[in-house]
Symmetry: C2
Amino acid sequence: MTIAPHESTDAIAHDLAGWAAGIEPEAADLDLARRALVDTVAVTLAALDDPAAAWTDGLPAALRWAAVGHVLDFDDLHIPSTTHISVVCVPATLAAGGGGREYLAAAGVMARLGTALGWNHYTQGWHTTATVGAISAAVAAGLSLGLDSDGIATAMAHAVPAAGGVRQAFGTAGKSMQVGFAAQAGVRAARLAAAGATADPRAVGEWFRLVGGRRSPQVEGPIIPDGLGLKLHPCCYALQRPIAAVRSLGSLSIDDIARIRVHTPRSAVLPLIYNFPSSGLEGKFSLNYGIVAALLDGFPDIGSFTDAAVQRPEVRSNLDRVSLVAEPVGEGVLDGDCTVVVELRDGSQLEAVVDLPVGHPRRPASVADFEAKVRGCVGDERAAEIVNLDWISAAALLQRHLPGGVN
Amino acid sequence: MTIAPHESTDAIAHDLAGWAAGIEPEAADLDLARRALVDTVAVTLAALDDPAAAWTDGLPAALRWAAVGHVLDFDDLHIPSTTHISVVCVPATLAAGGGGREYLAAAGVMARLGTALGWNHYTQGWHTTATVGAISAAVAAGLSLGLDSDGIATAMAHAVPAAGGVRQAFGTAGKSMQVGFAAQAGVRAARLAAAGATADPRAVGEWFRLVGGRRSPQVEGPIIPDGLGLKLHPCCYALQRPIAAVRSLGSLSIDDIARIRVHTPRSAVLPLIYNFPSSGLEGKFSLNYGIVAALLDGFPDIGSFTDAAVQRPEVRSNLDRVSLVAEPVGEGVLDGDCTVVVELRDGSQLEAVVDLPVGHPRRPASVADFEAKVRGCVGDERAAEIVNLDWISAAALLQRHLPGGVN
């Protein structure tokens, strides 16, 4: 289905809906889905005390679960599309009563639609997780509600008006809220389609064109092409690699360091818009802070990205030692390598180069790494329960902790 | 505040929020607001039996009221912005407990933002009522909840992800649904801002740029610049003028007619995308059907735009007698004149030219016309009650007929 640019995009919704309705997951796909489920639930439970949980009190389940699930920025990422797939598709699936197959179909649509929109959509200013998320959540919920291919295409069309969201929200609660809106809009869209509300599936292609899409998504290939990137640190994916580079140098005292330079393509740090963050949320999008936190904390974890942690005096006094040498071009958050050069006060220099951070599909986290992440999120006592969740027990667990309405 | 193109749009949210928080309505403004309220409630009650009421069962109040209010396409229009202002701003105001002042501020923001985006935004494929509606509904709800100027700007930013909607939805339930989504997204955004959820008001300017905005909105002038266009016929505003032109020729028997040509700028009939409609919803966006309905029914009313009415044999056999002669350019649904030329079978020819349809702010509907519309919507018995509604009694009435949730 690779087609020339400026083709008609009329059939996007039908093609993707037909693909979604017809997938036949293998055991490895369902394993990937269950790991995404566990990761998503773990990072959601880790954020139960975040104000996002209170702000969304009384709002629909899919919205709450996705917004709270995303607020730590600790959930998985599909790298070619620059989208947080699971934090949208898991809540939408669970809120509509679906399981692994429904999640996978939605995740596959999100990967394909986001990849087709491409880096250009993201650099223009759109927040791809929110834009393609709404339409993909409609697939998750539509399949979960038993819609056929036409019904799913109609649900996708009803999700179009909610396919917004901009990167300007990064560093504020707006980022996780708009991810929550997307998940819930998909569920709402599927329920409307199930109830019989008509919509024109060509609206999906029209929207796609309006937000910069030129080539229709490809439907062949694995269910989630290129897999999912798992995060070990609760911050923007663009920080995972610089942190990994600093950590690869071993333990260093920040007092011995004169200057740190990060060399990388511009695209690999594009979302890192705060040089001097003032809050934990801003710290998650700060190259300077990510480097300093790795030096101060060793393994930056949830505690490293609180407001208090970002405001530590030893942070403030060191942020300006970090500088960026960025090549002007690039395509995505893992383009090229990331080189960190540390100049010590004694005149010596250390250098580390990282291509892929641990957690990348081609450099997967070990079982031990993953379980350590879950323990860090939910505590040692609950880790086994969370690691063993299935789609039914996960929905019940979230509903207990974050009760939400249906619509 | 007229500024050169390609300026920074960072300040849009702050400028509009500041304007909205500071308006001082005069008696004439409040009269306009109350007429908008009555018109909106009347057209909403007229649609209580539409499936839209059942489809939205259980959904939030603002969504239901706006979706059902818009499904007949009988609600008022702000012509320079091509937006249905009241069906978004009245439900958002009522759902958040506001009144005339809050409605007017939101209506003024919607007029300004939509006019600034201009005809280009609409012709690209966006449905301006839905796109600027979400952000304007946040103003209505934000003021109603007592937010100050900064709070309103934050609410506007939370509404950005919902500022979508495309014209491809026209002729399906998707059109009224996305208007409902917009109204509700604004209420949700204002509640989140009131609860303390942070967002960056610059997101509004970023979104504005992404959807084609170039010049910041002007904040001076009347509260609703150029007033509101009232519809006498329950169909797209672009049909009001052609119907008025046909009606100005007096009673004609369709059997005497060989051919009808409508001459008008292309922009004035742009939304009329169905030449041969198959449903009532499609008929509302059909030049051919609007003309035939005016000939068959005299005064096209709610009964003229049912599925059954559109499917009448005497309709089907006459649709292809209508043709369009469109000038290629234009700016909006009232550009130029509308000339209807009727060629009779006896070889003679009748011609009518209409500039403004009755109901246009510069050719206002009389009190009798308006009350006739209300009677047509709610029946003779209830007309007096509806005409005398205020903002408190209207909210109670809608909640009784279309009970909705809070969020």
